[in-house]
């Protein structure tokens, strides 16, 4: 059940402009149901190399060029996705490269290729046609040479030579379990074609590319989004839901991009945690990773050499939210080890303040996460509620950390990060400064009233409790 889209590589939110021909002159076909139908129209046409799909109007525009064609340019677009035939844009070859339509034009010996339309300096029997794609002087494989795409050379002494274009399988190797694999292999180890990640047929699945941006679930290429032992994909065979891909490991000397390992706390999702905590947050001892009892599992330590699945320590071999383990309790398969502290990821404080820092007049001007502060007199990226004129007593100068609203958590600033209006600063309370205790306050804060509440919803009266 392969989709016609399997032959295409998508660039979301992108339009391909042709600097000589107005792309708009190409007709739009508005009556297509979806991108798959558009692919079904473009696929069989020899002079269709790509198409625009308008996600709002469901229109499609067939194109005889790709981003590698002369005088073309990619352009951000709100309404279009650009689908290009893989054979024209993939930089590696599948099988022996008979389908290769890329633009490499140099032989493995560094000789420029002779144009296929010329018979000089090397005469030959080929006539360029749309079908054989013998275009310009690009490397091709019209005779199914096992060595892959080749060309006649411009050197009379060397009639023809291979171009040495790598197979997609060899072009990218695996580090660790291949979570970072971003290669272009779209076949499983049994040769089945992969299902596109952005399709839910023949196999529905939770890995929607837009939800897992950092996993680059592109087109139908092999990936490892769930911490499996190596990259895999859903297959176009309805009888086989998913299957591993056959990809070479990089040499042992190529060490994986290691998260900085931590011992007494965990950073991010804890994939770099290498401490020895071996009970779950619920206090249940962990099962050893090299054991299959009471829980059978696929995380054999030897298959996850980079993940340090030693003994029964909490680990995060599959990119879960936090370090976890199989538990020694038959009724509880896995559990997080949330009791491990998170490493503080604040930057080192550069100064200190007294009280709540209302009188801090230092020049620290970055937040506790290291983001530079916005100037108090600026209006972007955040429109300030406190300005040098509206709060003269606070001396809001430059972009220095201040506390114009007597925030009990210390000096703060508007940040230059558009996504974070304000944050506290890379400051700490001075050592000799003890905050007033709230536990023995001079006057007990009595609870006058709580926030607004839709009384008819009061759970007690509604008897729903």
């Amino acid at each position: 059940q392969r989709s016609p889209l399997n032959d295409f590589q998508v660039l979301r939110g992108t339009e391909l402009q042709h600097l000589l021909h107005a792309v708009g002159s190409r007709p739009w076909q508005e009556d297509v149901a979806d991108a798959e139908e558009c692919a079904g129209r473009c696929g069989p046409l020899l002079d269709c190399r790509a198409f625009h799909y308008n996600v709002s109007s469901h229109g499609c525009q067939l194109l005889p060029w790709t981003q590698h064609s002369p005088h073309t340019r990619l352009q951000r677009s709100r309404r279009c996705d650009l689908f290009q035939k893989k054979s024209y844009v993939r930089t590696c070859i599948m099988d022996n490269g008979v389908e290769y339509r890329g633009t490499v034009a140099i032989t493995v010996g560094g000789l420029p290729c002779q144009r296929w339309s010329l018979r000089f300096p090397n005469d030959h029997k080929y006539t360029p046609t749309l079908r054989n794609g013998l275009e310009e002087n690009f490397c091709r494989n019209p005779d199914r040479d096992p060595g892959g795409p080749w060309c006649y050379t411009t050197d009379p002494a060397v009639r023809f030579q291979s171009c040495g274009i790598k197979s997609c399988r060899e072009a990218a190797c695996l580090l660790c379990n291949g979570e970072d694999y971003r290669g272009s292999v779209d076949r499983t180890e049994s040769g089945r074609e992969c299902q596109r990640w952005d399709l839910q047929h023949p196999h529905p699945h939770p890995f929607e590319p837009s939800k897992f941006l950092e996993k680059n679930l592109d087109d139908n290429y092999c990936r490892n989004p769930d911490g499996s032992e190596r990259p895999w994909c859903y297959t176009t065979d309805p009888q086989m839901e998913r299957e591993f891909c056959d990809l070479p490991h990089c040499g042992s000397e190529a060490q994986p991009r290691h998260e900085a390992t931590t011992l007494n706390c965990f950073r991010g999702k804890g994939e770099g945690y290498r401490g020895t905590v071996n009970t779950t947050a619920a206090g249940v001892p962990c099962q050893r990773w090299d054991a299959q009892h009471p829980h059978q599992h696929r995380f054999a330590p030897e298959k996850y050499a980079c993940k340090d699945l030693r003994e029964n320590f909490c680990r995060n071999p599959d990119g879960s939210e936090a370090p976890w383990c199989f538990t020694s309790r038959p009724g509880m398969r896995v559990a997080f080890c949330y009791q491990i502290r998170r490493c503080a990821d604040d930057v080192r404080p550069e100064d200190c303040y007294h009280g709540a820092g209302e009188l801090y007049r230092g020049s620290v001007s970055k937040t506790r996460k290291g983001v530079r502060c916005q100037r108090w007199s600026a209006e972007t990226p955040h429109k300030p509620q406190f300005t040098p004129t509206s709060a003269p007593q606070a001396q809001l100068e430059e972009n220095f950390c201040r506390n114009p609203d007597r925030d009990s958590h210390g000096p703060w600033c508007y940040t230059t990060d558009p996504g974070t209006p304000f944050d506290y600063c890379a400051l700490r309370r001075c050592d000799n400064d003890q905050p007033p205790s709230i536990l023995e306050p001079p006057d007990q804060v009595l609870f006058a009233e709580c926030g607004k509440r839709v009384t008819r919803l009061d759970p007690r009266r509604s008897r729903l409790r």
């Binding site: 939770p206 929607e208 837009s210 939800k211 897992f212 941006l213 950092e214 991010g268 999702k269 009970t279 779950t280 947050a281 619920a282 206090g283 249940v284 939210e321 936090a322 009724g331 509880m332 559990a335 997080f336 949330y338 009791q339 998170r342 503080a344 990821d345 604040d346 506790r368 996460k369 955040h382 509620q385 609203d405 925030d407 009990s408 958590h409 210390g410 996504g419 974070t420 209006p421 304000f422 506290y424 205790s437 709230i438 536990l439 306050p441 007990q444 804060v445 609870f447 006058a448 009233e449 709580c450 926030g451 607004k452 509440r453 839709v454 919803l457 759970p459 509604s462 729903l464 409790r465």
Partner: protein, 227 residues
């Protein structure tokens, strides 16, 4: 919740990850704002695409189309002051308040819950075999003073934290409950006094449980929602 029983807590929300799995609790403090624990998220600026808040249901895995279920994507996350262990989540749109979804009040700034106050926790987390994992569970707990609590926790409890007494039977929050509410009934109103944070062990008998004290961070909460 260990040692609890099924119950209804209309301000308790379920945080769902990109696979749609429940991974933490939260409290609805405003129609578009949920307060939860920082422990639930890998960092303050992680991509939130695909993360949702589910409300209006008692089931951990409600069937699609269940009446009252509201699923709202998380739009933004704001980390609390250092040491607060809190995170505010801004939802993509306000939720609809009704019989099943209600706001919980915030306490006054720096309010200290008197020892002996009766409070409750709620969550869809681990019950350690003591209850039904598929529905929302709740448990009643009594507040104790930080002084008494520090007796057991050897002075480690900070003023920005509060404690409930350790009962003889194991009763308390556990994994999957983090971020959920410790709500106390005060002056005819349920008030969010504490946030469930990971303790070294869940529901350890005779061992006080530690929560983040919300009243110390109420000024931050109001400021974030205002700014």
């Amino acid at each position: 919740v260990v040692g609890g029983q099924p119950g209804n807590s209309p301000w308790t929300v379920s945080l769902r990850n990109r696979q749609g799995q429940h991974f933490c609790g939260g409290s609805l403090v405003k129609e578009q704002w949920v307060l939860t624990a920082q422990q639930c998220f890998s960092s303050c600026n992680m991509p939130l695409m695909g993360y949702e808040v589910w409300l209006g249901t008692l089931f951990q895995n409600p069937q699609p189309g269940e009446p009252g279920l509201q699923r709202v994507p998380v739009a933004k996350m704001v980390c609390g002051p250092s040491g607060s262990q809190l995170v505010l989540l801004k939802l993509e749109r306000p939720v609809t308040l009704n019989q099943r979804v209600a706001l919980i009040c915030l306490p006054p700034e720096r309010y200290v819950v008197p020892p002996g106050t009766n409070c409750e926790i709620a969550g869809w987390g681990e019950t350690k075999g003591t209850g039904d994992n598929t529905v929302l569970n709740m448990a009643l707990l009594n507040v104790i003073s930080n002084q008494e609590c520090n007796g057991k926790h050897r002075g480690r409890v900070r003023e920005s934290e509060m404690c409930t007494e350790g009962l003889l039977a194991p009763v308390g929050a556990c994994e999957g409950d983090y971020g959920g509410p410790l709500a106390c009934f005060t002056h005819d109103c349920w008030v969010l006094q504490g946030i469930i944070i990971p303790n070294r062990v869940c529901a350890r008998p005779r061992w006080p449980a530690i929560f983040t004290r919300v009243s110390v961070f109420v000024d931050w909460i109001h400021k974030v929602m205002r700014l």
